[in-house]
Amino acid sequence: MTSLLTCKEFMQELSDYLDATVDAELRRKLEVHISECPNCFVILDTTKKTIEVYKGVQPQPIPPEVYSRLMKAVEKKLAATHKPG
């Protein structure tokens, strides 16, 4: 027999559960909890979607003037360290 998790205990493990870093026994307990607790099921599902929505975002292009200043600074540095001859 294993003890049931409270919602608070479930919440503490939520992140590790989503990252799949919990051991098998804890994982089973968490899964029992979500099968019986609709609130925690929704929190789990929407937290998972939160992570997914950010993971899919590609970085925007750098504004051209920022990029051009970056490349100028890099070129200047490279020229300064380039050994003559």
């Binding site: 919440m11 490349m71 890099v74 490279l78 380039h82």
Partner: protein, 207 residues
């Protein structure tokens, strides 16, 4: 250009070897490859365009300066992320009027895990919001997090560093990374639920 191998794969170790020998085209190619992500990271942490630009430049200039110290034990990207994080945090610390929570302050009050909004999300938020609107909602939600939570979330869930890499980059413990990440994720979930929840719906739809 030396950017890719014959197979069209980005040849990072080849470029690094050339850059170490002073090949400026090779180094510029590395800058080109990672500058977008470094700029986004700097903007997320500093929340300031001009500071983010400083961080962007400093990161690549320092990376070039210390290229000889890079041993290749970690990924080049992870290495420059650490430089960018350090530069960004220095900017935050320099702000005299900064009233935000210091990064090393204990944050484990438990209050941040309080859940107020429980609602299922719309299956297709793209039908309700344009790409630009969704981008803005996501950005503003991240910006509203405290710096200690924001930096961990950005490194773990946006830049996709491991827990260990994040701990090293921020010089905090692994349990601190995990605890801040949990709180950041829950706070973002809460904020995004306000936008993405299914209209006229609630949790009892599941019962």
């Amino acid at each position: 250009m030396a950017a890719t191998t014959d197979a069209g794969v980005f040849d990072e170790s080849g470029l690094l070897a050339k850059a170490r020998e002073g090949d400026s085209a090779a180094f510029s190619e590395l800058v080109n490859q990672y500058s977008r992500k470094i700029y986004r990271l700097a903007k997320h942490i500093t929340q300031n365009d001009s500071e983010a630009e400083d961080v962007l430049q400093e990161t690549f200039l320092k990376a070039f300066e210390h290229l000889g110290d890079f041993q290749g034990q970690s990924k080049f990207y992870t290495w420059i992320v650490r430089i960018a994080v350090n530069e960004s945090l220095m900017k935050l610390r320099k702000r005299k009027s900064d009233r935000t929570v210091p990064l090393d302050e204990p944050l484990d009050t438990g209050e941040d895990t309080v859940v107020r909004e429980i609602a299922v999300w719309d299956e297709n938020p793209e039908q309700q919001y344009s790409r630009e609107e969704i981008g803005q909602i996501l950005d503003e939600a991240v910006q509203s997090l405290k710096p200690a939570f924001r930096t961990v979330f950005v490194l773990r869930d946006i830049e996709e560093l491991s827990t260990e890499e994040t701990a090293r980059a921020l010089e905090i413990s692994i349990p601190a990374v995990k605890s801040r990440l949990l709180r950041a994720r829950l706070q973002l979930r809460e904020k995004l639920t306000r936008f993405f929840k299914r209209k006229g719906d609630d949790v009892f739809a599941y019962l």
